[in-house]
């Protein structure tokens, strides 16, 4: 038994390095997407102290809107633009109707409000577009669907073009977001608001503008993730569950750390895949990916309640 846990998996890894690479690659693909969703959470949490429970359903809603618009006969790329428009209207609406009246309320009330938003989006999405599983319009968007076969060390490594596209697009989006946050005035405003509300007001930052902006960014992220995941698993409300994987990512990375969200996402993606293939399937009967991330987060929480990368501001007295 101990041999199965501590020795055999590593022997397998070394004996079939091409398979290990395949596993790592697949882990990386999900990891990048987890990181992206977690980033959406972090931005909203930092700038408004709201734990946005609705992030998961926003992924579904964005994907549904895209597919739904296309099924009404709108060309694919126009549908993407229109969906972005819908996400913007959603951001403005949420700020006006939900956040603004609740400013200054305890965090738990705002959290409950995001659960309300979740229910609203589920209901709205179903009424408008129907609840059945839909096909993502992968080809219409020009996303490549073939695969490339590599033969490292005489082995076999299959890279789905879809996955390559997902990784490239997600990395580009993360890089763009980081640049936006670090090198533009609006980005500084977002970070500043996360640090100190009063000071942010005194330098002319409007809470409302920043809130609409971060919710819209979360909407863009939701759309990209929705397309990526929809292309692999179809568009249905089951996607929401995948988005909740961002929760353990946040526990691991810390709720406020942008770098933490990225590293945490990649770590969870890679580790859950490795665990599933080398430990889960042989020892536990498989399907460990559904719970592994949460258990990992629980263990991290025991030892580091602020997460692995949570920002702890040094206090001087």
């Amino acid at each position: 038994m101990l041999k199965d846990i501590f020795i055999n998996p590593f022997v397998d890894m070394v004996e079939a390095p091409d398979f290990l690479l395949q596993v790592l690659w697949e882990g990386l693909v999900s990891g990048v997407l987890y990181a992206l969703i977690a980033l959406g959470f972090v931005l909203i949490f930092r700038s408004s102290r709201i734990f946005n429970f609705a992030q998961g359903i926003m992924v579904v809603f964005a994907a549904l809107t895209l597919v739904g618009l296309h099924s009404f006969g709108v060309p694919a790329w126009i549908s993407v633009l229109l969906t972005l428009g819908v996400m913007f209207v959603l951001a403005v609406g949420i700020e006006r109707v939900v956040l603004r009246p609740l400013v200054g309320q305890p965090d738990i009330i705002l959290f409950m409000a995001t659960i309300g938003i979740t229910l609203f989006l589920i209901g709205g999405g179903e009424i408008i577009f129907g609840g059945e599983n839909k096909q993502m319009i992968t080809e219409e968007l020009g996303i490549p669907t073939g695969d490339t076969v590599l033969e490292p060390w005489g082995g076999l490594l299959i890279l789905q073009h879809l996955d390559i596209t997902v990784v490239v697009v997600a990395c580009a989006l993360v890089a763009a977001l980081l640049a936006f946050l670090n090198y533009t005035q609006m980005g500084r405003a977002i970070r500043a608001l996360g640090d100190d509300h009063q000071a942010a007001l005194s330098v002319g930052i409007s809470l409302q503008t920043v809130w609409v902006l971060v919710w819209f960014i979360a909407g863009i992220i939701a759309l990209v993730t929705g397309i990526a995941w929809g292309a692999r698993a179809g568009v249905s409300f089951a996607l929401e569950v995948i988005a909740y994987k961002a929760l353990p990512v946040l526990m691991l990375g810390g709720l406020e750390s942008i770098a933490g969200a990225i590293i945490g996402g990649l770590m969870i993606g890679l580790m859950e895949k490795l665990f599933e293939i080398y430990w889960g399937q042989p020892l536990l009967g498989g399907n460990t990916e559904t719970w592994f991330a949460f258990v990992l987060a629980l263990i991290v929480l025991l030892f580091r309640p602020q997460g692995l990368f949570g920002e702890r501001i040094i206090e001087r007295v």
Partner: protein
């Protein structure tokens, strides 16, 4: 634009302009508590105006009214010759009013340079889209902002900590960074809430010198709060003295120093 009130010439020969800001019969109540009672005074263009008074006199409340954090219960704020409608603090900031805080409100997770750059947010013109795409106008603005911030950083002698996260700085330097952020906004009026609180003698001297230099170099109008009488009397042109929410004196440091009510407030006399 400005009120046509005649200016005056200070003891050290500087020409002070007309009225930049005027507080008219300001009363501020928190429920039953009267924090400020019917106070009027003006701030002239180019002067260093101090508001002093013992703890709890209502000085900070007054500053919060000027910067829009509080709205007066009764009374009007006039700014650049026009009555200012009730505004949010960020709107007041965009009208050219910059401030610092008594307990230092910096963005602790960001570097000194980034903190100072946030001071330029009031001058943001390029749209969010243009910034996201790093388009011409946004790019030019960013470079221009950076230049102004570097100038301020040089001026306040904090070049060597530009890239340090603010959370790691000692107290005195934080105060200076906060001043830098306010200055980066190129404000028409600069509000300083106890800029020397908690400082040692040397740091106080440094801060006094910076305040005088800012006023001298950029012609910035400064309104500051202090309860340390000594420093204030040295650097300010005119002083408002508050006690228990009321104005008990207003004038040059010399006039105020010889005002019986002020002496009573500071040295302590039984209130009837």
């Amino acid at each position: 634009m400005l009120d046509q009130t005649e200016g005056y010439i200070t003891a050290d020969g500087r020409q002070i302009g007309g009225t930049l800001m005027e507080m008219k019969n300001i009363t501020l109540k928190f429920g039953g508590l009267v924090a400020i009672q019917d106070i009027s005074f003006d701030i002239r263009e180019g002067e260093i105006r101090a508001i002093i008074g013992p703890n709890g006199a209502g000085k900070s409340s007054m500053l919060n009214i000027i910067s829009g954090f509080y709205t007066p219960t009764i009374g009007e704020v006039w700014y650049k010759g026009a009555k200012r409608p009730p505004m949010k603090p960020y709107e007041v900031a965009r009208m050219g009013v910059a401030r610092t805080f008594q307990n230092i409100a910096l963005f602790e997770g960001m570097t000194v340079l980034d903190n100072v750059m946030t001071g330029r947010l009031t001058h943001m013109k390029a749209g969010i889209g243009a910034q996201a795409l790093w388009w011409g106008k946004a790019q030019r603005e960013e470079i221009e902002n950076r230049e102004i911030c570097e100038k301020v950083i040089d001026f306040l002698e904090i070049q060597n900590i530009r890239k340090t996260p603010v959370g790691r700085l000692p107290y005195g330097l934080k105060k200076r960074v906060e001043l830098a952020r306010a200055l980066a906004a190129e404000p028409s009026i600069l509000l300083l809430d106890e800029p020397m609180a908690g400082m040692n003698v040397e740091e106080k001297e440094d801060m006094s010198r910076f305040i005088l230099d800012v006023n001298d170099e950029f012609g910035t109008t400064i309104a500051l709060i202090e309860h340390d009488m000594g420093v204030v009397m040295d650097i300010s042109d005119r002083v408002v003295v508050m006690d228990y929410g009321k104005k008990i004196g207003d004038g040059t440091p010399d006039e105020v120093r010889n005002n019986q009510d002020v002496i009573d407030a500071y040295l302590g006399v039984a209130h009837d």
